[in-house]
Amino acid sequence: MIVAEIKPLEEIKEMVKDKKGVLLVGCNTCTAVCFSSGKRELELLQTQLDLSLENPKPAFWQVIVRRACEPEMVTEISDYTREVEAILCLSCGIGVQTLSDIFPKKQVFPALNTSFLGRPEKLGFWQEVCVACGDCILHLTGGICPLSRCAKGLLNGPCGGSHEGKCEVSPDIPCAWEEIFTRLKEKNQLNMIRKTKEPRKVIRKPRYLLREDIFEDEK
């Protein structure tokens, strides 16, 4: 899922303080699951803004969309936006951009910092485990992604900073390559990493995905 956290209150106050009406839009998918954009977070943020902003302060409204990244679902909340000057969006950056596109006359503010693609490890603790690189090699690395979990994103084994399972960057960060090594060794699959992998061939430019089998061009 996409993991995000709410921005510091001061930063959000700066965005909305001069607005007359602000609609708080939550998203009920990824970022709600990580406790950043559900009903509870919307209520809490509105209360905090109400209590801390000086008069004249904005009037607030709230609405939650199922997925803020999907234009069709965002269009459904058009009625809520009519009266407001600005939208404060509690969703990942994709949702913020969708709202900005669908409501070009409104000011759309991001209330969250989108952190990464990750998963919950414990309650209140998430880890980045994918960088959406576009060329998955998890079958070769014991199901552990070195691009996201190795600080340097190395493709060919641990660097000299890896020691006793820890990364040179921080003793709190496990060395992904040692995890990969250990898992492949257990599976008797060290051959998977014995040969040097070639430099990556994915071209880094704005990416699109077009599926011919389902794509319908509206002409």
């Binding site: 600080a151 060919n156 084994g157 000299g160 900073g161």
Partner: protein, 305 residues
């Protein structure tokens, strides 16, 4: 033409290299002065590349200043600050400027350096960079197979980590580097001789020492603070408690530091499979002449053209 370091190693002389840290500034005399100190006592000197992810004068420029002083550089280049375009063009430029030894590194992570917010490039890693450099040298081609007008001529070096666990994982890295085209290794600093000997026997068992020269890293400790820092913060260095205790007791820490370094060199010289020492006395280059002389490694071999 072969580098001086390569000739020393191929003629089975015990090699001595040192490290020259470029200054944080645009001052060429700083490099020249260090080069003049080191020149008679070493076969070549490594020029560090923004070491520990801290900004210094670039290693290419400092290497050229060293050549002008008559000291042969081992040009260190990391994958941290350059993508594949920059790596290739810097290597071509280095060869054109007369650099004959390179040490190819992944590089420390920017977050441990002096610009922790910097983007780490890591477009390639050291394994891929070794393969690429060998390809340029042997096949005269770039990564994308385009032909070079002239191949670079390098003696290819890489780092080895004798103290990192698990040993098997790091041994595998070394074997991969040899397969990719490494001619020589320089190891992380040795203080823990017991562990080092165990590592060398593993290297020997895998016949890595038959395929590449192995130069053991050594370094004089200047102070107790430095010893503790190395023990706790420098990735891949193991400082035994016995060493710390000796420094604690010593009244003259510098003298004791050099003494410990000489003892390590004495032991390392006896180990089969070790072809030389690499003295990492960054910020204390003046210690190198004393160490080389006291270790009985002076004068250095000289070759007629």
């Amino acid at each position: 033409m072969k580098s001086n370091l390569e000739r020393v190693l191929r003629e089975k002389k015990f090699a001595v290299t040192a490290e020259l840290g470029p200054p944080r500034g645009a001052d060429p005399d700083n490099v020249r002065e260090k080069a003049r100190i080191l020149k008679p006592y070493v076969d070549a000197a490594n020029v560090t590349d923004n070491q520990s992810a801290v900004v210094y004068m670039c290693s290419l420029a400092a290497s050229v200043l060293m050549i002008e002083e008559g000291l042969e550089p081992v040009f260190q280049i990391t994958c941290r600050d350059r993508n594949r375009l920059a790596l290739q063009s810097d290597l071509l430029g280095a060869s054109a400027l007369g650099i004959r030894n390179v040490l190819l590194l992944t590089g420390d992570h920017p977050s441990i350096g002096d610009h922790p917010e910097a983007k780490g490039v890591f477009d390639l890693d050291s394994q891929q960079l070794i393969q690429l450099t060998k390809k340029m040298r042997e096949e005269g081609k770039l990564l994308n197979d385009r032909e070079l007008t002239k191949s670079p001529d390098f003696f290819i070096g890489a780092a080895a980590s004798p103290f990192n666990e698990p040993l098997e994982a790091h041994m595998m890295q070394m074997e991969k580097k040899v397969e990719s085209g490494v001619d020589f290794f320089q190891t992380q600093i040795v203080y823990d001789l017991e562990k080092f000997k165990k590592w060398v026997s593993e290297v020997h068992e895998r016949r890595i020492d038959e395929k590449a020269f192995i130069i053991a890293g050594v370094a004089p400790i200047k102070s107790l603070g430095m010893a503790n820092y190395m023990k706790n913060y420098v990735p891949g260095v193991s400082v035994p408690d016995a060493v710390i205790k000796r420094l604690e007791k010593a009244s003259d820490k510098k003298k004791e530091g050099i003494k410990i370094c000489l003892e390590v060199i004495d032991e390392v010289k006896k180990i089969k499979g070790i072809s030389g020492i690499h003295i990492m006395a960054i910020g204390w280059e003046e210690a190198v002449p004393e160490i080389v002389e006291s270790a009985g490694l002076f004068p250095r071999p000289a070759f007629k053209e």
